[in-house]
Amino acid sequence: MKLELTAQGVTIWRGERCLVHGLSFSLGEGCILQLAGPNGAGKTSLMRVLAGIGRLDEGQVSWNGTPIRASADYRRELCYLGHSNALKSHLTSIENTNFYQSITEYSSQITSQQILERLGLASLADQPCGLLSMGQRRRTALGRLLIGHARLWLLDEPVSSLDAEGVSLVGNLLRAHVEQGGVAVLATHQPLPLDGLPVQRLELGTA
Amino acid sequence: MNSLHEFLTMGGYGAYVWSAYGAAAVALLLNAVVPLRRLSRLRAALRRKQTP
């Protein structure tokens, strides 16, 4: 089953502004779509529409041919990392990661402890996330990418507040994901080490 | 009803009957005038916006 994320004539209005008008694209297996554009150009709104949370006023987004609103397995095969880290500040990193492990339907081979080690957070596993730095919280949130078999990654500013080592970590994760045939949509201002990977660029905010 | 006087006093209940009809008149007028004015103002604004 060939993976494909397609958007046909997507139009997004927020308030009185038309952020995206008649956007169409198709993203196949092993490709990355990089959204570029100034602040407020609608990158986050488009990302949330692709995730199925945001409201689109016209057009349609489909995953492997079926519209995402009607597709049952879209939510299983998707991992959305937004601006906020989706971590409860009173729970520790391991508890947060365990929570997301437990609510994905199939048990992934990698345990929460291994995820935190891979992200360099092993020593902070039982620290409440509220006490972690922004960068450490961002890394904990990145742990969600490793849980389960998410074939589609939607990453909104994944490297915000990450140090150089973190940025290369995200680059490697993305490279591994894409090389295994995964699909990714990326919105970022800082450059990422993606050389050699098939990247499509999409400029927003010029409409 | 046969006399104008009886019509105005409404058998002593004039105050209540006429204030009820007064309130109704206000409500009906407001409900008619407000949208009409809003519509014409919108049309004028759009027409002005159109002619560069």
């Binding site: 927020r14 949370i53 945001g54 959305y80 906020s84 989706a86 729970l91 | -």
Partner: protein, 222 residues
Amino acid sequence: MRALAILLRRDLRLGFRRPGELATPLLFFVMATVLFPLGLSPRPDLLATVAPGVLWVAALLAGIVGQESLFKSDHEDGTLEQLLLGPAPLELVALTRVFSHWLMGGLPLVILSPLLGLMLDYPSAAFGTLLLSLLFGTLILSLLGAVGAALTVGLRQSGMLLPILVLPLAVPVLIFGAQSAAQAARGEDPTAALYLLGALLVLGVTLAPFAIAGALRISLES
């Protein structure tokens, strides 16, 4: 189903880590009840006649006040989005959240009500009906309050808007609940009102989750 049980446990763990937050509806219930004798008169016979109504109005207001925080914290730290994207159906996730929030916010109200009943000379013989009516009542109010909370979670000043949306919908609960407590206090048979309250609960449990889920999706869509 496993995901819902885990969600319930996480909510309870989160709730008990911050006991301060749990106390607010309780304190509100106690204070609101204490205000009535100060506002009316200390005479026991007068208080006894208004006791069921006072207890119920105070419980209703406390229930609604407690609902505002239902989705607020999850919305702020972004976990609500992940729940929307999670595999579990949003309607059941909403029902689980309402239940866990009720366990920590609504149930203590019910348990505390006889104590406040004593302060208002409510006959102890009728405590059974009072507890049962408040049990049903706080559950229904949690469901209605959750609809209001879901509709206003994305708004800045939702504190005042939520009661305005929910109180008109809570009128039948107040009428049947206060009525059953009053009839029991007078020694009459309150089962008619209790049955109607139970019917409202069944209606709430079956329909409210769809309204809550729909409202959450709309709150997060722009």
